[in-house]
């Protein structure tokens, strides 16, 4: 690359070749470009979120492709590429550019942190390709920063805050203090949870923002403790959340004050153990042990990955399968045609029933309020949750009326 940059002539030659190449392919095929649909799984392979997405996301993608192929005979091939976005915006946008420009990737999926999602969405819009976001959480993706080539699939900060905060306030946790990861995601989660707490008659006493990623939370917990709030809302994720919970117990913050993990995954519960997390409320889009269908798919996943799937991985399966079905329905991998087909068809699989994609890019589906089981209630490995409530799709996500997305016609 260095050499090319140094020599503008070489760059020009390359560009000319690229142009010629694309002309040839454009005329040679009518439907699926170069007869291959390429899916790029851009995820956290090495950092704090690699357990909840990571290689498991690639496994889920492959399962979706297997299932699609088993049911459909199509003339085009499907390929998967994957890379580590290291939770950094610049790395992810560079990778996405490289994939779109050079490797002819049609769709980039997963994107585990808000920073990477926002960066790749912009690149996708510029290159007119699709971004299917399963991992990232911020509602900014379907509000201020929304665009027409992105679908936000699995959950968002509004949905998880709405489910958990509402349940906790109803249980009598009226006063709140937030422990927030100091970046776009944490702030978004804190804001959404604050709105829910206020709307349900609770009161927010304050917040402390910690650097991301952190390892020692005792100082922040002490601040939360001296606030006297009944509930400490954890507006962070991954190891930040697990360390906060562990240290809260150590410093005697719990059980006098209770913790509400606003974004927790089953891998976090697995890591902390039930003794530490019992009776906590959390909101997820998916639980492997919810019904026959989820169990059957999760077992297939477990056989490959040796871990039960998180909602991010299950959601990614759903998004990938829906995308492939849309390509087949549109008989094209043209971005606008595929997006139209995806929005037209309801999402029906083990992950979502009658899910729909709105004009702001939000895929709306039911969410579930879970309560973590007590150690003696858990009968077999990964038996962690009681499903307390199904939050219907219409209530689970922010309403279109409140949306700040420019694509929403009001």
């Amino acid at each position: 690359m260095k050499n090319i940059n140094k020599n503008p002539l070489a760059l020009a030659v390359c560009a000319a070749f690229g142009l010629a190449g694309s002309l040839v392919t454009a005329s040679a095929q009518a439907q699926v470009s170069d007869n291959v649909v390429r899916i790029g799984v851009l995820t956290d392979m090495s950092g704090a979120y690699s357990d909840l997405a990571g290689t498991g996301s690639v496994v889920a993608t492959q399962l979706a492709i297997d299932d699609f192929k088993a049911k459909n005979k199509v003339s085009w091939a499907i390929e998967v590429v994957s890379a580590d976005h290291q939770n950094k915006g610049d790395i992810s946008s560079n990778k996405a550019r490289e994939w779109f420009d050079r490797d002819k990737v049609d769709v980039v999926t997963d994107l585990v942190t808000t920073s990477t999602a926002l960066a790749v969405m912009k690149v996708a819009k510029e290159k007119n390709k699709i971004a299917l976001i399963s991992g990232a959480a911020s509602t900014r993706i379907t509000n201020e920063d929304c665009n027409d080539v992105t679908v936000h699939w699995t959950y968002d900060t509004y949905a998880v805050a709405n489910g958990t905060a509402k349940a906790v306030v109803k249980q009598g946790g009226k006063t709140w203090f937030f422990l927030t990861a100091d970046y776009a995601f944490g702030q978004s989660l804190e804001k959404d949870a604050t709105d829910v707490v206020n709307a349900n008659g609770g009161k927010v006493l304050g917040a402390v923002r910690h650097p991301f990623p952190g390892s020692d939370f005792s100082s922040f917990l002490l601040k939360a403790q001296s606030s006297g709030a009944q509930v400490i809302g954890l507006a962070n994720a991954g190891t930040d959340t697990t360390n906060s919970i562990k240290q809260a117990a150590e410093f005697g913050v719990t059980p006098k004050q209770s913790l509400a993990g606003l974004l927790m995954f089953i891998t976090d519960i697995h890591s902390l153990g039930l003794a530490t997390t019992q009776t906590m409320y959390l909101t997820e889009a998916f639980y492997w042990d919810r019904n026959e269908e989820t169990r059957a798919w999760s077992k297939r996943f477990f056989d490959k990955q040796r871990k039960m799937p998180t909602m991010v991985q299950a959601g990614l399966y759903s998004a990938t399968l829906h995308y492939l079905n849309a390509v087949k329905a549109a008989n094209s991998d043209d971005t606008q045609k595929v997006m139209a087909a995806m929005k037209k068809a309801p999402v029906n699989d083990f992950f979502a029933k009658n899910g729909t994609i709105r004009e702001d890019g939000r895929m709306v589906h039911d969410m579930y309020l879970m309560q973590v089981k007590k150690p003696d209630e858990s009968k077999y490995p990964w038996d962690y949750y009681n499903v307390r409530q199904t939050i219907p799709a219409a209530e689970a996500f922010q309403s279109l009326a409140a949306s700040k997305c420019s694509l929403v016609k009001k």
Binding site: S50, S219, L222, K223, S226, N243
Partner: protein
Amino acid sequence: MTEIFGIPIQALMGQLMLGLVNGSFYAMLSLGLAVIFGMLNIINFAHGAMYMAGAFFAWMGLTYWGIGYWWSLILVPLTVGVVGVIIERTMLQWLYQLDHLYGLLLTFGLALMIEGAFRYFYGSSGLPYSIPEELTGAINLGFMFLPKYRAWVVVVSLVVCLATWFVIEKTKLGAYLRAATENPRLTQAFGINVPLMVMLTYGFGVALAGLGGVLAAPAYAVSPLMGSNLIIVVFAVVVIGGMGSIMGSILTGLSLGVIEGLTKVFYAEASNTVVFVVMVIVLMIRPAGLFGKEK
């Protein structure tokens, strides 16, 4: 309630105490780094990985073989020390005469490989390790609730740090070590086995990191990332204290922990940058560090 700068004195005392706890980890890790740099001239980037390995060995001991916390405190540093000795014998010993960069690159590569291996096998979410029964519960200090375990960490690390300082600065063995660093050829001419001493020093340095790991296991989640989260701060501590200065790194470790704690009271967002701000200021005023001597 009495207040200082609008902060209740209770909260302030609590944060100071916590700063001291974190400072103990910094002190113990930076001490190991300082010893290794002082004696071997190696910038040991694998230190964080050794600390992480220490925590993992403690977890493995408990999970696979039922070795409890107290035995781990002794066995794990020994194991990590042996790993260190093997690394020193097979790789590092060829680099002493070369530029610092070679040692840095080698140990950096090692750190990435060790971390990667643990992440591959154990994932990134972290594994639970519970506090030993004797140390559960907390002491009510009036201004805060100090978990017994944290108090224990401060005590152990102070004892270990001071003992190390004593051995190196005040005993005959320490004098040999210092002589071997100052002028290895002459020391060898007096019949002292310099390569052996250097090897043991490296082993001891990383054993300190391993001990840090065992102490950290019950306090934090045992995770492959725990070392890299800490190592940069620890390097900053060594730079501030003065490369190679033993007492310097102990005192700097503790005081930076406290400074960090105070930052968390006044402006939490800056708490992970404050160490580096201090580093910049110190380097501008005293390029060799607070306790270092210009060569």
